[in-house]
């Protein structure tokens, strides 16, 4: 039974939550409002929480100064492929680690987990050399392949493994008696039941790919191949100074789909985290 809070405690708690909310909401608020301010108003003192005048041309300039639609498409299709690829790889790997008995399974899993401990800055140079040899520099392949087989996928594999471990083994045994082989058990029983975990993997992976910054700036050099985080840095004036309002307009457009996806999939996201026993 939930304990009822007294009105005073409720007011206090909500007040506290509102204060805690400020560091999270304020940057977004600042980004959205500044994207329609004239550049001189962005750094005005005292700061303007609401724009005194609105300059909507910033949004049209976003598309004039960069091939923004192309870059949007680049980010979207790369994130989609990475998400699908990671879901396939991590669900199969997670299932194997959770359910299939093979020699040194736990030791191999530990080795795989080590991938999470190595910062991408450490591996970026060897990766660059590898992709250079393979003729894949200034293509999107590194941005697709590295996350699918790299740290994001390791994390996703961990999430999926934890989910499959918790899945009652009797379900699989019933399926074996019903006539299913290993792969069909995975596809027909385990995978459909793993939807909450898969949803959280999808969100994590999509966000990671969408926000990827280091890899694009290392691997990509032509503007029409850029992804959005990289494109944001290109909104500069003739002297290399940032055009803040246009940059923030582009940032707002960049953040929008992620925000929408998160709002829609919030429930699965939290459920998925609950399944893994992890906190966000």
């Amino acid at each position: 039974m939930k304990a009822e809070l007294s009105p005073r405690r409720q007011v206090f708690l909500y007040g506290l939550l509102c204060i805690l909310l400020i560091p999270f909401v304020f940057p977004t608020w600042w980004m959205v409002t500044s994207s329609v301010k004239p550049i001189s108003d962005i750094f005005a003192f005292p700061p303007q929480l609401l724009p005194e005048s609105y300059d909507w041309t910033t949004y049209s300039k976003v598309f004039e100064l960069q091939p923004f639609v192309k870059q949007y498409w680049n980010s979207a299709y790369i994130a989609a492929l990475v998400t699908i690829g990671t879901m396939v790889v991590s669900s199969m790997a997670g299932y194997a680690f959770a359910r299939i008995k093979f020699p040194f399974a736990n030791a191999i899993f530990m080795v795989v987990l080590l991938g999470l401990l190595i910062p991408s800055e450490v591996t970026i140079v060897p990766l660059f050399q590898m992709f250079l040899k393979a003729g894949m520099v200034n293509t999107h392949w590194p941005l697709i392949l590295v996350p699918i087989f790299g740290a994001p996928s390791v994390f996703a594999t961990f999430v999926m493994r934890q989910f499959f471990i918790a899945l009652p083994v009797e379900l699989e045994e019933a399926a074996r008696v019903d006539g299913l082989g290993r792969f069909k058990i995975f596809r027909k029983i385990a995978l459909p039941l793993a939807r909450p975990a898969l949803a959280s993997v999808a969100i994590f992976t999509f966000l990671h790919s969408w926000n990827l910054y280091l890899e694009p700036i290392v691997f990509l050099s032509s503007a029409d191949k850029f992804t959005l985080p990289q494109a944001l840095t290109q909104y500069t004036d003739a002297y290399g100074g940032p055009m803040w309002n246009i940059q923030l307009a582009a940032a707002t457009l960049t953040a929008l789909p992620v925000l929408i996806v998160f709002i829609i999939a919030q429930k699965q996201f939290v459920e998925g985290l609950a399944h893994t026993g992890l906190k966000g």
Partner: protein, 350 residues
């Protein structure tokens, strides 16, 4: 339908032996219950028949075919699990038809078989529901429906009633029994509940520590347990045991001398365990004295915990008697129902 034969079946996990060579013959259509305390190996044995556990040694034969190396799907068995193992993302109808679907049955055939099974088990109105929308008893029925829909050679039940409340357990027990009487499919049923074993089985296999203690019809086991373990395990309340010595005057237990049947005197001076079931005490003024410790009226009978000499025993009396703790009554053990076991090893002596 099929015969099932286990020949010297063994199971080990590394150096630890779990099943120590079990021989068991189950005739076509027989309802056999494997019963025993937790950890006795009954579920492991069932899972070995199902093909869910590998067999370390010996042979499992279903319908005249050695199945040791066959997958569960190729053994033509159906299994009902303790937690039902219904697929949560499928409706009742899909759950029931799932195995047929994967064995290449046509849609019409599957629908017909599912309907047949649903009609037998009273599941027709629930076919479109998901397992989460069902009560425990309904889930249990769906699990049975999933098993019977395929018309397998053997049904395997792994403690299927243990998740139900006491009342529902009695109802489902009856349903499983009547289902077996209707379908006459060979059935192996695992339970730790000796009441289930007694009421359902054609034949009971009592297991203990991975070994068979006794195999027989329920009443045979009840009336003539082969050893002290079976005697204590079968029957509720369980058999009373008094340890003592057979003397020319009777059975000498601490603080009391109990009457013995004539034949028992052949074991004179032997250290023996005297076994008597609670219902085999009769109130009789010429009996032995017993001090009442606890009285539990059950309605149809009265259960009395009493001190026979220095040993606490339980008696069950059908008569409506007025008894109170602290009082002394006189009880007479029925000589025809006395069981004597060797104090060392527990083997039956009479």
């Amino acid at each position: 339908m099929a015969e099932v034969t286990l020949s010297n079946v063994r199971k080990s996990y590394g150096a630890v032996d779990i099943i120590h060579g079990i021989d068991l013959g189950i005739t076509d259509g027989e309802f056999v219950v494997l019963v025993g305390p937790s950890g006795c190996g009954k579920s492991t044995l069932l899972r070995m028949v199902a093909g869910l556990e590998t067999i370390t040694g010996g042979e499992v034969n279903i319908g005249g075919r050695v199945v040791n190396d066959l997958d569960p799907k190729d053994r033509d068995i159906a299994m009902v699990f303790q937690n039902y193992a219904l697929y949560p993302h499928m409706t009742v109808a899909t759950n029931m038809g799932f195995s047929l679907e994967h064995r290449g049955g046509s849609k019409a055939e599957i629908a017909e078989r599912v309907k047949w099974a649903a009609d037998i088990l009273g599941l027709a109105p629930l076919l479109d529901r998901y397992p989460r929308q069902l009560s425990g008893g309904q889930r249990q029925r769906v699990a049975m429906g999933r098993a019977i829909v395929r018309d397998p050679k053997v049904f395997l039940f792994d403690e299927p009633l243990s998740n139900l409340d006491a009342k529902l357990r009695v109802v489902m027990r009856g349903e499983i029994k009547s289902l077996h009487q209707r379908l006459k499919t060979t059935t192996i049923y695992v339970t730790h509940d000796q009441v289930e074993a007694m009421t359902m089985a054609d034949k009971i296999v009592v297991l203990n520590g991975g070994r068979v203690e006794q195999i027989g019809a329920p009443l045979d086991l009840y009336d003539r347990p082969a050893n002290q373990f079976v005697a204590g395990f079968i029957g509720s309340p369980s058999m009373n045991f008094l340890t003592g010595t057979i003397t020319p005057e009777g059975f000498s237990a601490p603080g009391i001398l109990l009457p013995l049947p004539e034949a028992a005197h052949g074991h004179k001076d032997r250290k023996t365990v005297y076994g008597i079931r609670p219902e085999h005490f009769a109130l009789d003024d010429s009996g032995v004295p017993a001090e009442i410790v606890l009285v539990e009226p059950m309605g149809s009978e009265t259960q009395v915990t009493m001190k026979l000499g220095e040993t606490l025993v339980t008696g069950v009396f059908r008569e409506r008697v007025s008894l109170s703790p602290g009082a002394t009554i006189r009880v007479r053990p029925e000589l025809g129902n006395i069981h004597l076991f060797a104090a060392d090893g527990g083997q039956r002596l009479n």
